[in-house]
């Protein structure tokens, strides 16, 4: 098999004396779609935030496309160029229009000229179905629209991998679907994605693998069918019974 795009080997992460990640081992190959779930405080977000170095891991090794994440700024920058991220709270730059939000990184980081950056931006705005909002400020959009802009912003850097950190948790219920649809489209086009989410329907229909975390550990890792029909670990069963019972 080819080299994995993401490799985490025996990764530990501490916040002070609290251990947020315990001996995490994970491999993700190109085109794989991974859903990570688990109770709050289980380390899901911390794990994916280690992948683009928003958190610095304390022990173990992380390789992204064969490049090890170290303290070297050069390695970190190289990894961040290939890994896009979508946040729970959108984190659009409030002082820039939608278009400027999308053009900023391609211009500054990829050194694209303005017309190229604009072209790319409009292409991805079409793709998330809101080209008509290009000249508005984020505060003028609904939550669902803002999150779609955030996805488009990440796509403008043409990343190898997209990380989603609870992308629908801050949305009103009626807006969740429009965001999930965009994510499903991406998944169907072969984007490598790791998605922290509680949307079990999304996990069922899109994921190649579901990872269950609790207390900083990966407790169970299985295909969606296996995971939902026949969970092995007691903690997984308890979690599923809690979130699927209503």
């Amino acid at each position: 098999m080819t080299q994995p795009l993401i490799q985490m080997q025996n990764v530990d992460k501490f916040f002070g004396s609290f251990q947020a990640l315990k001996n995490i081992n994970l491999e993700v190959h190109k085109g794989e779609r991974i859903v990570v779930c688990g109770p709050s405080g289980s380390g899901k977000s911390t794990m994916i935030r280690c992948i683009n170095r928003l958190e610095k891991h304390n022990n173990g090794k992380i390789f992204i496309a064969g490049r090890e994440l170290t303290d070297s700024e050069k390695d970190i920058d190289a990894v961040r160029r290939e890994v896009g991220m979508v946040f729970q709270s959108f984190n659009l730059f409030p002082h820039m229009t939608v278009l400027r939000n999308l053009m900023l990184a391609p211009q500054l980081v990829r050194k694209n000229n303005k017309s190229k950056a604009k072209e790319t931006a409009m292409k991805y705005l079409e793709r998330v179905k809101i080209p008509d909002q290009a000249n508005k400020y984020p505060s003028q959009l609904s939550g669902g629209q803002q999150q779609r802009v955030a996805i488009a912003r990440a796509l403008c850097m043409s990343p190898e991998i997209l990380l989603f950190d609870e992308p629908t948790s801050a949305l009103d219920p009626e807006m969740i679907n429009e965001v999930l649809e965009v994510m499903e489209d991406l998944a169907n086009e072969g984007m490598t994605m790791i998605c922290v989410t509680h949307e079990m329907g999304f996990a069922r229909s899109v994921a190649d693998r579901v990872i269950f975390m609790d207390l900083g550990e990966i407790v169970e890792e299985a295909s969606p069918q296996e995971f939902f029909e026949n969970p092995k670990n007691e903690r997984t069963k308890l979690f599923l019974s809690q979130i699927l019972s209503h």
Partner: protein
């Protein structure tokens, strides 16, 4: 007690002739102080102790002592040193006006750098993480994300500091600078009419404060245009 209106009308033009000096004090020390504040801010934001520690000491000293004391130390104290009298700064420190500018600049610089630091720290961390995740370098994040947002957050406390600087300029009169306050004090010494003179002077300062407030209000609206629906 009588309240002599004609005396006010007589002395208003005299006091207003000091307006130029008051404004020079305000604008020169305001601009230089802002520049100093920015340097102090950058020193404090680096994680190198040999930059941030001296900045912290400077800020502590100038916020921790009365501005009048600072003015007196600079005007009466510094010329005692031979080295100062022979330095390139002597042409500035020899003049009361220069001393006032130096004191006001150092003082306002210390305060404003703390305002700027508060504004920088108040910028939503999530936005900087989004910048990092997009591959922006530390400097790019500072220029394109932190600065524009921090400027907006800093306007209200900064306008407060400019107003307080306007009033501090009156202290320059204690070292023989003839700004509006200096002229007013001379008139009072001649006429023994402190109420009339100082009350009309107070009104003049209030009018200026009004315009400063208005100006910053417009600036704040302009910088907040993205927040509007």
């Amino acid at each position: 007690m009588s309240f002599d209106i004609s005396l006010i009308l007589d002395s208003l033009p005299k006091m207003l002739s000091g307006i130029g000096l008051t404004f020079q004090l305000l604008i020169l020390s305001g601009v230089l102080g802002l520049f100093l504040a920015f340097v102090l801010l950058l020193m404090r934001l680096t994680e190198k102790w040999y930059f941030s520690f001296p900045a912290q000491i400077f800020i502590y000293v100038f916020r921790g002592t009365p501005i009048l004391v600072q003015i007196f130390i600079i005007y009466y104290g510094l010329p005692q040193f031979e080295a100062i009298r022979e330095s390139i700064f002597w042409p500035i420190l020899r003049e009361p006006f220069g001393c006032a500018i130096v004191a006001l600049t150092l003082n306002t610089g210390a305060y404003v750098s703390e305002i700027l630091r508060g504004a920088v720290l108040a910028v939503d961390r999530g936005l900087l993480e989004a910048g990092s995740a997009l591959g922006l370098s530390r400097n790019q994040r500072f220029i394109y994300i932190t600065s524009p947002l921090a400027i907006r957050l800093g306007i209200p406390p900064y306008s407060n500091d400019v107003i307080s600087l306007l009033k501090s300029t009156a202290l320059a009169s204690t070292i023989t600078v003839f700004d509006m306050m200096g002229i007013a004090r001379t008139i009072v010494a001649e006429t023994y009419a402190p109420y009339e003179i100082f009350i009309s002077l107070a009104i003049i300062y209030m009018i200026f404060t009004f315009f400063i407030q208005k100006g910053f209000g417009y600036f704040e609206n302009f910088m907040s245009r993205h927040v509007k629906k």
